[in-house]
Amino acid sequence: MKGKLYKRFTVVLFLLPAIVLFVSVLVAPIIMSGYYSFFDLRSISTEGMEFCGVENYKELFTSGSISFWKALGNSMILAALSVFIQLPLSLGLALMLGKGIKGERIFLSIYFLPVLISTVVIGQLWLKIYNPDYGILNSVLANLGFKDVMPAGGWLGNKSSALWCVFIPTLWQYVGYHMLLMYAGVRSVSPELREAAKLDGATDSQVDRYIVIPTIKPIIKVSVIFAVTGSLKSFDLIYVLTNGGPFHATEVPSTLMINMLFLRNRYGMGSTIAILLIVLSFFFAILISIAFKERDIYGKNRSEAADEV
């Protein structure tokens, strides 16, 4: 009996720091956010705040001046660009690297380098790259023979080019990250399997297609989840580059939230956006997991088929 008590005491004591930290900084505030989202809270003093039901949600969804849909649409566009441009590029690099190339490690290290640089530094650097007067992008384009291709208002100042120009630094920074994950997967494919397939007459691209890619499906899933939820959460780079401008062309939910809080003092509305961000993150994480579950079965079948041939 004494032993049992001792065990219980130990468990509680060992879990205590983590639980206190986790609950006080993450769980409790999120519950509070949910609570505040039903109030018309316009200052940090919560006394006498007015209950307004789902008014915040209603306003967020219908008000043209808040442009929540635009922000959500932008983050969906960013997510789609990440999944359909960034990830294939990473996969391509990982597959190429996985073939046993000379200088593999050097390439790997170079590709991963941008991941380690602070997003603020990268944002400031790309501000200079895009600079309308002296930026390197214009000089490079001019040297290649494209003069005066910069859209009116500058790369980041033009409504139609701004979102692309925000995406490109993200692409530049994170291709290496996804490449690294996929490369680790590619390397984990057993050499015997490759050899067996090649012995059976499979070409390199067939090996990639029928053996390597199905094997690393779980990693691709992780990458897709990271890319999509990352786009939903994206803040730093956009804040540095455009802060959502021009005319909401690069607005995403998190920049909208911060502007609500600290430009308009609308804490209730900020909480509403925060809650929607959480819901969306979980929604997409679950959606992607389900989408990949089906594929996993195919993937398994395929790799088994390749095994048997």
Binding site: Y6, K7, T10, V11, F14, L15, P17, A18, L21, F22, V25, L26, P29, I30, M32, S33, T46, M96, K99, I101, R105, F112, L113, P114, I117, S118, T119, V121, Q124, L125, K128, I129, Y134, W172, V175, L180, L181, G185, K198, L199, G201, D204, K233, F235, Y239, V240, S254, I258, L261, Y267, S271, A274, L277, I278, S281, A285, R295, R302, A306, V309
Partner: protein, 295 residues
């Protein structure tokens, strides 16, 4: 991603029973592709280094892309003296180190309780912590800000340390669990037979074996905390407490037309990670793989 749906149709053909070698031409293209992306990765960084050492005349037209003609080290002294760069640097170190230390201790203890001690609900507890991996951290910013304001705790190190520690926690627990599951349970049993209680087992058996996990978590959390912008931007308005990301933002506001010092500040902020990367590239890459794949 969903293009490969067709089933492979491979016929067994004895005549073809030979290993296909990688096409030479394809190999050349692979190298070209890899080198092109490497250049795309390196060029902006190279450019950052060069313009940090140039005068405005060179940046503004005389010499846009080349190496600086006159290496203007004074840009660095200006970056270090006009703003409070050394102070921002120090603040970043204080906040990051404290946050990592707290999350490491909390994660190690929690993981030990959840993986080595058998009790009902330990898996549920683990899933509870794992929720933190999907939750966007900004979602908690409003209540934290309100609470901190009421407690008069905005503009303090603690207002950043505690959130950063909490946000590193789920990943730290995840990585810890992976590593701790690799430690054979026989060791615990042996320790128990030798008279160690749960506490002694933790301190004398588990912790010494968790060193690789510690460095992995440290690397992973370091980048998260070192680069964090939103909380630092909102909670800290006092200049003497600003961290590097916020400080650089402020500095670039002061030097909008003077590129050299901004470039120098960017290089200074990047330097510690770059140096660490040169020596630890393999370990750092492994940490990121562990962080993603063990999930």
């Amino acid at each position: 991603m969903a293009k490969t749906e067709a089933k492979p149709q491979m016929k067994y053909d004895l005549d073809k029973y030979q290993v296909k070698k990688t096409n030479k031409v394809a190999r050349v293209f692979i190298y070209i592709g890899l080198i092109v992306w490497a250049l795309i990765d390196l060029f902006p960084i190279y450019w950052m280094f060069t313009f940090s050492l140039k005068s405005n005349d060179e940046v503004y037209g005389m010499n846009v892309m080349g190496l600086p003609k006159h290496w203007l080290w004074s840009n660095y002294t200006r970056a270090l003296t006009t703003g409070n760069m050394p102070l921002y640097f120090l603040n970043s170190i204080i906040v990051t180190v404290a946050a990592i230390a707290i999350s490491l201790v909390a994660a190690m203890m929690a993981t030990y309780a959840m993986t080595r001690i058998v009790w009902k609900g330990r898996n549920l507890m683990n899933s509870f912590f794992m929720l933190g991996l999907t939750i966007p951290i900004h979602a908690s910013i409003v209540p934290i800000f309100i609470t901190l304001s009421k407690l008069h705790m905005v503009n303090s190190y603690l207002s950043l340390i505690l959130p950063y520690a909490a946000f590193s926690l789920p990943m730290a627990i995840l990585i810890c669990t992976g590593f701790m599951n690799d430690i054979p349970h026989e060791l615990d049993e042996a320790a128990c037979i030798d008279g160690c209680g749960l506490w002694k087992t933790f301190f004398y058996v588990i912790i010494p074996l968790m060193k690789p996990a510690l460095s992995t978590i440290t690397i992973y959390s370091f980048l998260q905390c070192w680069n964090e912008l939103m909380f630092a931007n909102v909670f800290i308005s006092k200049d003497s407490l600003k961290t590097l990301p916020v400080g650089i933002q402020a500095l670039s506001g002061q030097h909008t037309t003077d590129w050299g010092p901004i470039g120098a500040a960017l290089v200074i902020a990047t330097f510690p990670t770059l140096i660490a990367y040169v020596f630890l590239s393999k370990k750092i890459q492994e940490s990121f793989i562990a962080g993603a794949v063990k999930g």
